[in-house]
Symmetry: C2
Subunit: 506 residues, 2 copies
């Protein structure tokens, strides 16, 4: 989930000021309304060290009536707390129906900092996750609004901030040895955070990712996230449903998705489409990689490792070309390409994932899907072929399916072939003009093109919500076909080699 984020989002001073002038009084008003409506509110701040939790909490309470909230700073467990069930210290800190409780770190400490520091028993990790999910579900069902904010910066920025803090005498106490160790092993700690986000992002208590490289942007996004959540809670209360009735069926925005494009969590925009390869280099690399894949394919077969490769991307993004280069030197008995079109009559009377389950590769075989189950959250979403509830819950369903493949032992990779709008137009026109390629272009392609912005929004959401550690999305910068094909092949080679390592090692 964190891998694909564009953290560089920022906001100009003017825009910030203008927005805050609206947001502050609005939050203030909503706090009063929630109190009157007897809605208990829980706000959780988690994220990387030096991402600005402290600053943002004080910035948030700025707008709040101090008689209506508590801030709880959650440190290591005391001896007394250790002598009770893990969640006891949080149950006893819960807000009443007229209060707001703000947590600076929270129950997530158990599966993050305390885990990293070796305090948490790894064997009990799943139990703690289950307890956390059940805790939040019980509170949400009882009418609590649970707002979970994850403040995100990158390793370099964190190091810079730690240094700045440490250099000033008055703030040097704020940087601990542990902080520095977590910076040094940033990737390991990030993986723990990523896993946590995957396991605990629920409809009744969704995470909102706060891109925190730019402080003003983060403040505005936090205010907006809190405001949207409170508004939704008031609406539900007015409608008489204590909590979301479809509370656990609809999985959730990893990030609150507003119509406001500025605040939207995105991945596509950061793709560097200028990346390119020269023809000579391409041919050499292609040869090398195709030979390597042929060898690896044999190993994969011998070790009985199933491989599932999904290809998605803009029309004319280069899926076909990449798949062709990928399979060119593979033994045809060991792989199959499944083109995914609209479902046929038999497929239509089954679950939308049924046809893909039917094509799960046998151990040792490779299944390549040209377009995939992700149609559900792209074309079906945009064209209205399924209901809002259906595509919303599909993210979780798809994540679960892919996890089952991975748990069974499969390598699962998903490629998004990214091109820009101009490049697509160029390719469309080329197809129109070339008699041999004309079959590849239809009126529908041009119609889809008109919905580019809608698709971009759906794709951004899909990438954030379904790029899991088990089955990552790879964004392939595709304006240059040579570059794109090599990246696809190299990624497949790397994944196979990594998996096979465990056999040579042990």
């Amino acid at each position: 989930m964190l891998e694909q984020l564009d953290l560089t989002k920022s906001m100009s001073k003017e825009d910030y000021k203008k927005r805050m002038e609206v947001l502050e009084p609005e939050l203030s008003r909503l706090q009063r309304e929630c109190k009157a409506a007897k809605i208990p509110v829980i706000i959780v701040f988690e994220g990387f060290g030096a991402a600005g939790k402290g600053y943002q909490i004080s910035r948030l309470i700025h707008a709040l009536d101090p008689r209506g909230f508590y801030v709880h700073s959650i440190g290591p467990e005391s001896t007394e707390e250790m002598m009770h069930p893990f969640l006891w210290r949080f149950w006893t800190k819960l807000p009443s129906t007229t209060q707001m409780a703000i947590f600076d770190r929270s129950w997530y400490r158990k599966v993050l900092v305390d885990r990293f520091d070796g305090i948490t028993d790894e064997h009990r990790l799943i139990t703690y996750y289950n307890e956390i999910n059940s805790f939040e579900r019980q509170l949400a069902a009882d009418g609590n609004v649970i707002i979970k904010l994850f403040l995100c910066i990158d390793k370099k920025e964190q190091k810079k901030r730690f240094k700045r803090l440490a250099d000033v005498q008055s703030s040097s106490w704020r940087v601990s040895e542990d902080d520095l160790r977590r910076n040094k092993e940033f990737d390991k700690y990030k993986t723990m955070n990523d896993e946590m986000l995957e396991y605990t992002d629920k409809a009744y208590a969704p995470w909102t990712i706060i891109e925190s490289m730019d402080r003003s942007f983060a403040t505005v996004k936090i205010y907006t996230a809190v405001i949207e959540a409170l508004k939704a809670a008031l609406r539900r209360k007015a409608e008489g449903s204590a909590a979301d009735s479809d509370i656990t069926t609809v999985p959730t925005p990893a990030s609150v998705e507003y119509d406001d494009d500025v605040l939207r969590t995105s991945s596509l925009q950061k793709a560097d489409l200028s990346l390119a390869l020269e023809r000579e280099e391409y041919r050499a690399e292609l040869k090398r990689l195709q030979n390597r894949i042929a060898d690896l394919h044999g190993e994969i077969y011998k070790r009985r490792i199933p491989v599932i490769l999904g290809f998605e991307g803009w029309d004319a993004g280069g899926k076909g070309g990449a798949i062709k280069r990928l399979t060119e030197k593979m033994d045809p008995r060991g792989y199959r390409v499944h083109p995914t079109a609209s479902p046929n009559d038999i497929e239509k009377v089954h679950h939308y994932l049924w046809r893909f389950w039917n094509n799960v590769p046998k151990d040792g075989h490779i299944a390549i899907f040209d377009r995939t189950w992700y149609g559900r959250v792209m074309v079906e979403r945009i064209e209205g072929f399924c209901t809002r509830e259906e595509w919303q819950r599909a993210y979780q369903e798809i994540n679960e399916m892919e996890k089952q493949f991975v748990d069974h032992g499969a390598i699962v990779l998903k490629f998004w072939l990214q091109i820009d709008k101009d490049e697509q137009e160029r390719r469309f026109n080329e197809r129109m003009e070339n008699p041999e390629k004309q079959w590849k272009i239809t009126d529908e392609d041009w119609r889809n093109r008109e919905k580019w912005d809608e698709y971009e929004k759906a794709v951004d959401e899909m990438l954030v919500r379904t790029s899991t550690m088990a089955a990552p999305w790879i964004i392939v910068e595709g304006n240059n076909k040579y570059y794109a094909r090599i990246k696809v092949l190299q990624t497949v080679v790397d994944a196979m080699e990594k998996r096979l390592e465990q056999y040579t090692k042990g």
Copy 2:
């Protein structure tokens, strides 16, 4: 869940015949209606060997149009199936929207027979459970009706049936070595089944327990369960909601609860209220147990084991007397009795479990609750102090809370003090007549008494749905106070000794 069941339920020939004359054509009609409404139906038969799965399946399809269903017998995985993810062989067997799939054993094989036989990797058990729950949730969300029937007999009956089958040449092949081994280790296998029921009893795919000692009773209950489920599905479809919208919030009847008292799963009726102790024996036992408890209390404290004891039962059932005897020789610094009355003003503005979380004992201490969190599913349910949704989801919430206590290391026991209606009247009158006991009886007690039948139904449901392996209910036969008190003390002693064993052993 299985521990507390009354399996002896039976049905007379006439009653059976009369009911089946109505049920068969009704099922037949509902099959057609579901087909027309495009509702896919999945019926799962699980349960103990020789409980009658085969017979009941053929009895069920009697009423069905053979063009509309398939029966799948699920044996051990084939080599081909082993080379795919676990659920692949079930995904490919799913019914279309106009079909019914009947499974004779199912995906539950993985966590039952195959687990018992050592084929299933114990380390992956939780993963399999998660996969099963996600599988069923995805199907239910897509409109599938999932009817899960658990056919239950006891060890003795099973042995008898195996013997009968083995003795006749034509049926002796039906009893395998494995069957006999599972009979021999019935309790171990039963525990696995019990755990399975606890983990997979979900609102979107509830289990119905079929008491199968009497074949006719079982047939009628199966027909009724299937019919009720199909009716509910048709109703939902007509209302336009693809599946239960509150699909995972409301946990479910372990058994379908009809208004029909005959079919209702029950526990209270089997309590043998004639059990009694003479005064002499009582006094000797009491002394012995109280001394033992005093010793154990010290050990418990030293080992830092928290103990949670809950007392529920009919008014005048003897809770107070039992608690008094239990604590008489305990060190008062090490235990606390929490009487539970109506919630006060502060408690009212918090989650209903909040006040009990606040009284979770510290490690090494004993907390005794005179009335408990179970008020939610008894008095609050019956008096309408909470909504139907609230008490329905409380079973799962309570199970989760108790599991957290146990996972933290606590001993959790729940006592139900059972007396019959006549005995209650006798005790009420005694209280009225005895000036020293008059304070113990109020008009409310008499009013509650009028709702005896309603309470009995609620208690029966509570006992089945919340008697977990981690935190069992103990039904205390209470007409004779001596017997009841000794049973309570002995149960506490046994539980403490069992827990302490692990320290002396290892």
